[in-house]
């Protein structure tokens, strides 16, 4: 339409350029460093680029078929391990820290004197960086000779305690455990904030109606916390898909891929094996999984926006 309309000056309201002037700086930076790189990763995922040669050959979806084609072998592929570990991480994150965080928030929301100190102690790990947490747990907790757990097990007479981070079965759970430890305080704080918005008269009313503690939680408090729960679940999912630091510092994905996750695999493919195309494809898979939850969350934000 713009093309066909004659170049006659029209009495349309003038465009207000002010917002665009405010936007131009941040938006330019965002386009160059976030949006364009994202699109470029999609392109790279369709090539066989090795990171060194000047040319990247277009190979279609070959990278993806080699990732997914590796499924179901007798010895699981690195990709299969990584995907499964991400799923384990995700399922643990949306249940265990969420349950414990909510429980703690409920307990501390009662008339507890000194509740701040308990909250502080439990929230503290959230302030530390992931590499630091990884080191504290590797050396202080999981160290096979000197860590808290094995020192204790040896003291009580266990002769052959597990070598946590070197044990193929246990390693991923050990890392998820340390990550969950950091997560609980965050979830607790979000629920504490959410509980502040729960109208106490509703609780009193249900109390008068003869509801017991569990029923009050189940039928009054928990439904009222639904918006917080949505956020908490989204944050937990996104965090679990992003997980890189803990694994990289604690095990680099080993032993033999047993603790690999997609983010680490992508790094290894790209920077250790010089298969940037394949690395990009792994990143795209990770992105597409995240996208499901990003879209779910956005649609919620959008609903809020339209209510304005």
């Amino acid at each position: 339409m713009a093309v066909s309309s004659p170049p006659v000056p029209r009495h349309k309201s003038k465009i207000n350029w002010t917002p665009y002037l405010f936007l131009v700086g941040p938006l330019a930076l965002y386009l160059v460093w976030i949006i364009a790189p994202m699109l470029y990763t999609f392109y790279l995922s369709l090539t066989d680029w090795d990171g060194i040669s000047p040319e990247a050959k277009y190979i279609g979806l070959k990278n993806f078929s080699s990732l997914f084609g590796s499924f179901g072998k007798r010895v699981p592929s690195a990709f299969e391990y990584s995907l499964l570990n991400n799923i384990k991480w995700l399922l643990t994150f949306i249940t265990v820290p969420v349950g414990i965080g909510l429980g703690l928030a409920m307990i501390l929301n009662q008339d507890v004197k000194g509740d701040r100190y308990f909250k502080l102690g439990i929230f503290l790990p959230q302030v530390l960086s992931l590499p630091v947490i990884a080191l504290l747990w590797s050396y202080g907790v999981y160290n096979p000779e000197a860590g808290v757990i094995n020192s204790f097990l040896i003291r009580i007479g266990v002769s052959d305690p597990p070598a946590w981070l070197a044990d193929k079965q246990l390693v991923i759970w050990a890392i998820i455990g340390a990550a969950a430890w950091r997560q609980i305080g965050y979830i607790m704080i979000l629920y504490v904030a959410g509980l502040k918005n729960v109208d106490p008269t509703l609780l009193d009313a249900s109390k008068v109606d003869g509801a017991n503690g569990w029923q009050r939680f189940r039928h009054v408090v928990f439904p009222l916390l639904a918006p917080v729960t949505t956020i908490v679940i989204v944050i937990s999912i996104i965090d679990s898909l992003r997980s890189f630091d803990m694994v990289w510092v604690m095990t680099k994905g080993g032993p033999a891929n047993a603790s690999n996750v997609l983010a680490v695999l992508m790094y290894i493919q790209s920077f250790n094996n010089y298969r940037m195309g394949l690395g990009a494809a792994t990143a795209v898979v990770l992105f597409l999984i995240s996208l499901v939850f990003i879209v779910a969350y956005l649609s919620r934000v959008m609903k809020d926006e339209l209510e304005y």
């Binding site: 504290l136 990289w248 809020d304």
Partner: protein
Amino acid sequence: MTTNTQSLSTPVAKSMKKSSLFNKIFLYTFLVVFTLSYMTPFFSAILTSVRTQDDISLNGFFSIPREIVWGNYPEAWSRGGVSKYMINSFIITIPALIGTIFLSSLSAYALARFKFPGNKLLYFMYVAGTMLPFQILLLPVFLLTNKLGLYNTYWGVILIHTAFQLGFCTFVLRNFMRTVPGEIMEAARIDGASEWGIYWKIMMPLTVPAIAAVSTLEFTWIFNDYLWAIILVQNDDLKPVTAGLSTLQGQFVTNWPLIVAGALIATVPTLIVFFALQRYFIGGLTLGSGK
């Protein structure tokens, strides 16, 4: 925070007034035991850091330390290079923090106060951007810093942090700015203030509480970054402390107490910021988790 919790819990607590002393004792015992055991990794790290390698590897954690040695801290600080890494962390974090807060306040102002086509779209783009997995940006950002000659400099890391954090900061600041009554700005406009003047002299001062909250959070997030640091910086002299700890780990493979001491030193800045600005930190988290 505490006062609000009280005003909510008091009526509930009153209705349960007859809950016995036994319950109370049980509750406190549980909380004290839980919180203390929750902090075990801290305590164990502190105890490990003041022992010698021989002592701890021979006798295990649950043994009386032969001697308490403080030397691991100065050793990690000077010979282990933690002092240098720590300075690098600040050199990266502070400009990135200032840049992202300033730029996001501009876009937040535009999105909060003006109606224009694409407003909502840009807002959703920023919100979605906060949740991206970094891996989808990793290779191109690595290539871009190489092309621009920013690989192995502070600037590559500073720029990617500034850009990536725009999403979250714009999201929080925009929502906060929307709560500022429009009449204040209308009055200024009638008085002949320029758009820039309104943004800088009226909106920004009113947004200070939100800026304080976001800055506290962002300081911690940028300071704690590890991934971008290892991707974009290879020169050991430029590494921030998160990445430097890996070097330390490689350098002192057989001295766990020293590595742990280094890790503990690395926690100090974020702990100070957290304790000093707790209220803002928690406020930022709840603001950021969406209304």
